[in-house]
């Protein structure tokens, strides 16, 4: 087996050095009834060529999003990732290192995380950010739990415009950790009056910008209402590229930002692995979940970085930790930070504008189709439209022609069968928009 370096001669010599006659003696503590004599009923070892053929055959039974026009979003976005990103994250020193527990020989990972934290804080307009969580949805659930710890209040109010998976993950966590959730019903295109719901039991209000339906919202008033009542405002961001064009949650008064970072540096990958961004105010940092890289000096006074504030974490605090999170999304965070380093201020702003313009162009073309009506008014790179027919069958028929037309909202909410979510990024070409418009006209005719 190509990954196992011991030879039969090595094994014999090592057993002799240990002083046992066979490998079985080393498994003597296993109860006899649980010792398997033969092999598990699975195929035997295969060479690289054979494994590659078998798995590539499965890949070939899928339709890659980039093989035709792709207008899918709803929490996962198809962007162009510069070639340098994947090259750099595949360097073995990044790819095959562990959590930086020995900082003297992990400065590469630690400095990159420190830079990542800085970028996330700047993008979200917040003071501090952690070194990433699993994804946007779990970051959101962690934000709800943190708001409960900070305010010592039980209730979280979740906007109907929050991504349904984020809502569902919060609901799963809440079912077991005792948080009370007020899950507001989704109302596509309508304004919610969440401020009126905030009371003395409210730990936080959770909203999303742009919301599930693509609508951009100003939450400054809601932030004021929350703070007046002693509650926190949590803002989720599912499309982080929007922060290149849109006023960040920090400037609206958010206390915690929970975002999905996939759009920068990371492939669609059928939904994972992604990375959760988590940012907050400096005063709340000791209630924050997840790993943190911090600056310090070494014994010679040289600047360096370490994991810090570990007394919040499970390996020190055990059942009193702020979260059970151990692993983060290190390599996804590295891809994010490299992509953002390449873009820089000018690049991110331009990328965001290109996304916005692609969405405007797409929205205008779709609005010209008889019976198709826009649901909202202000959006970044994604918007909802009402179709004259159910959206899911229309999407299926377009997929047969190689056009991924968008996400039918019925995939989340059966009560909205005729709504279609359409996202357009910088990867969308004028020809893609033509094919979407023509295809939709045909299947709706």
């Amino acid at each position: 087996m190509r990954y196992l370096p011991l030879t039969e001669a090595d094994r014999r010599a090592m057993l002799a050095a240990i002083g046992v006659g066979s490998i079985d003696e080393l498994f003597a503590d296993v109860p006899a009834s649980a010792r398997r004599r033969g092999l598990v009923d699975l195929p035997l070892a295969q060479g690289e060529l054979q494994v590659e053929r078998a798995i590539a055959a499965m890949a070939a039974r899928n339709l890659p999003a980039g093989s035709g026009p792709c207008f899918l979003g709803a929490g996962a976005y198809r962007h162009h990732v510069p070639a340098a990103v994947d090259h750099l994250i595949q360097r073995g020193e990044f790819l095959t290192s562990y959590t930086p527990y020995q900082p003297e020989i992990a400065q590469g990972t630690l400095q990159a995380l420190f830079e990542f934290q800085t970028q996330v804080a700047l993008l979200t307009g917040m003071e501090v950010a952690n070194a990433s969580l699993y994804d946007g949805a779990t970051a959101c659930a962690e934000a709800v739990a943190m708001a409960g710890r900070v305010t010592r209040r039980p209730k979280a109010i979740l906007s109907g415009g929050l991504h349904p998976h984020y809502r569902e993950v919060c609901a799963t966590y809440a079912r077991f950790n005792g948080a009370q959730l007020d899950l507001r019903a989704p109302q596509p295109g309508a304004d919610e009056d969440l401020a009126a719901l905030v009371d003395r039991d409210t730990a936080c209000v959770v909203v999303q910008n742009p919301d599930l339906f693509g609508e951009l919202r100003d939450y400054a008033g809601l932030a004021e209402a929350c703070h007046a009542a002693g509650a926190l405002l949590v803002v989720a961001v599912a499309e982080v590229v929007s922060l290149g064009a849109v006023r960040p949650p920090g400037e609206m008064g958010a206390d915690i930002v929970a975002a999905e970072g996939q759009s920068l540096g990371n492939a669609l990958g059928f939904g994972g692995p992604y990375l959760g961004l988590f940012a907050t105010r400096e005063a709340l940092v000791r209630q924050m979940p997840g790993r943190l890289a911090g600056e310090t000096v070494d014994a010679e006074g040289r600047r360096g970085w370490v994991l810090t504030l570990a007394t919040r974490e499970q390996h020190i605090r055990r059942e009193r930790a702020t979260s059970n999170v151990c692993t983060n999304s290190g390599l996804c965070a590295l891809a994010f930070t490299i992509h953002l380093a390449l873009l820089g201020e000018a690049g991110l702003r331009r990328l965001a504008l290109l996304n916005h313009e692609a969405a405007i162009a797409t929205a205008e073309r779709l609005a010209a189709i008889p019976g198709v009506a826009p649901v909202g008014r202000h959006f970044f790179n994604e918007f909802a439209v009402r179709l004259p027919k159910p959206a899911a069958p229309a999407v299926d028929r377009l997929a047969e022609r190689g056009v991924l037309a968008g996400v039918p909202l019925s995939r989340f909410y059966p009560e909205f069968p005729d709504l279609l979510l359409v996202a357009a990024t910088e990867t969308v070409t004028p020809d893609d928009i033509d094919r979407l418009e023509c295809g939709l006209r045909e299947v709706l005719a």
């Binding site: 011991l6 798995i55 499965m58 899928n62 899918l72 993008l123 998976h165 006023r247 492939a267 370490v306």
Partner: protein
């Protein structure tokens, strides 16, 4: 000292933010058309503050940073309970096939049949290896898998109207175990070890009653020992009406040789980034599928894959067969990129190779034990499984600590072992070589460690306390970092 601060190939590298050349960009993008925006007055008005760099500057920055990292690609990485094994590059190649990497999670199910087949195939392998009938694949990491397991257990108990409040956790457990149980709303009861480094069966039985929801046990445990009374433990737990959860972080020791189901385990998470070699990536991403007994399977998290007339389908709402599901644990369908890598790893090894993995992992650990045990103080005598635990008795009166010895290993070109964990022995040194180390590599490590121990016992505490001297940084001041946290770069005051 050099003029630059560089030392040969060790290059000092400023922060990105200190290399800003405003207006520079490492990506060429077309000019926007200048359409009137539809942002509704919410456009960003202030600069973000991101630095501008060209592509060569960025490539050099991260290349230099990478060279400050130790990695399994560069050498032995004997972190106990972390399973730092070789990461095959075939797996990276396959995960990047457009048929997986360029799939949107919400594409019509008819266009992702191969992806669902891969997930199903992975589940089949995990079921065969654990002997358990169901696998929940969505958890994003080991601790997330623990959460999934404890939630299904609590849901199963609730469904039978049995509101139990306590979880038993051995003192040697990973910190994630008690943290998870607490996050799931449970109180934690710590169970002591016996003098042989295993769970104290009598103490366990004394704590078992109708209020105990589950035992969370790691097996092999974090002392590197197989829980040899595990069948009695399982019988006692089940006899009290509780569930038996196993932390599968150390599955590498038994894969292909022991099926957890045959030990009486009801739920077990598997870290694909440990046993199944998906790269650790400097701290993630991981993947933590959970194998479940039939009694727990109805409560598995969403989504589920089911077989229908038109092929495989996804159940994404708690209805139909998934009506009792605990719900969703993360967005979308799980860590697909990790699934591809793990399946490629398993198919490469096959049933025969996986069994050999466990045997070589245990052989390598015992070989190191045999080479070191005459000098270092083994915490519990006898053979070990895939990792060997020493305490710091051998450093008594030398003035040298476990930490000093670990840091001195850095100067010798090795990543240190896990230090000060598990907490049940003093000054723990937990060494897990894994099966992907050659005998020559083990010998070199043992020679270095024995020489360092000899230096400590020969009165040379000074040089060990000053280690590391040759790494990119000397010891870093962690106390100062925590006292006044600096968690981001800020522009220098003008």
């Amino acid at each position: 000292m050099t003029v630059t601060g560089n030392r040969g190939l060790q290059l000092e590298e400023k922060l990105l933010f200190e290399q800003d050349s405003p207006g520079h960009c490492g990506v060429d993008l077309p000019a926007p058309a200048g359409l009137p925006n539809r942002l509704g007055g919410l456009e960003r008005t202030r600069p973000i503050g991101l630095p501008g760099l060209s592509e060569p500057q960025v490539v050099r920055h991260y290349t230099r940073l990478s060279q400050k990292n130790y990695a399994i690609d560069s050498g032995l990485y004997p972190l106990g309970s972390c399973t730092m094994k070789h990461n095959p590059r075939l797996n990276e190649k396959l995960a990047r096939l457009p048929g997986f990497a360029d799939l949107h999670p919400l594409q019509p199910v008819s266009t992702v049949q191969g992806a669902l087949e891969l997930i199903d195939t992975l589940a089949h392998w995990l079921k065969a290896l654990t002997g358990l009938p169901a696998v929940a694949l969505s958890p994003a990491a080991g601790a997330h898998g623990e959460l999934c397991g404890m939630m299904t257990i609590r849901a199963a108990l609730s469904a039978r109207g049995d509101a139990r409040r306590r979880i038993l956790v051995p003192e040697s457990a990973h910190g994630t175990n008690p943290a998870t149980a607490a996050a799931c709303g449970y109180a934690i009861d710590n169970i002591p070890n016996n003098p042989r480094g295993r769970v104290d069966l009598a103490a366990l039985k004394a704590r078992l009653d109708g209020d105990v929801a589950a035992l969370m046990l790691t097996n092999p445990n974090t002392c590197g020992l197989f829980e040899d009374e595990i069948l009695e433990i399982a019988a006692a737990v089940h006899g009290a009406g509780a569930f038996f959860y196993c932390d599968g972080a150390n599955f590498n020791a038994i894969v292909g040789r022991v099926r957890p189901a045959d030990l009486g385990i009801d739920a077990l998470h598997l870290n694909l980034h440990k046993t199944f070699s998906t790269p650790h990536g400097g701290g993630g991403p991981g993947s933590g599928p959970v194998a479940l007994a039939a009694e727990l399977a109805p409560f598995a998290p969403l989504p589920w894959i089911v077989h229908g007339a038109a092929g495989r389908d996804l159940v994404e709402r708690p209805e139909g067969p998934a009506a009792a599901s605990i719900g969703r644990l993360k967005a979308f369908h799980g860590q697909m990129g990790m699934f591809v890598r793990a399946l490629a790893y398993m198919m490469s090894h096959g049933a025969d190779g996986l069994r050999q993995v466990a045997e070589d992992a245990v052989l390598n650990a015992n070989y190191l034990r045999a080479r070191l045990a005459g000098t270092l103080s083994q915490a519990y005598p006898g053979t070990c499984m895939h990792e060997v635990l020493f305490d710091d008795r051998f450093l008594k009166d030398t003035g040298v600590t476990t930490l000093d010895l670990a840091k001195a290993l850095i100067d010798e070109g090795f990543h240190p072992m896990t230090m000060y964990f598990p907490l049940v022995v003093h000054g723990a040194l937990l060494i897990e070589p894994t099966e992907t180390e050659s005998k020559a590599s083990l010998d070199q490590f043992a020679d270095a460690l024995l020489a360092l121990a000899a230096r400590a016992r020969g009165g040379d505490a000074e040089s060990l306390r000053a280690a590391p001297r040759l790494a990119p940084r000397r010891r870093l001041d962690e106390t100062a970092a925590a006292r006044k946290p600096v968690l981001r770069w800020r522009p220098p005051a003008a």
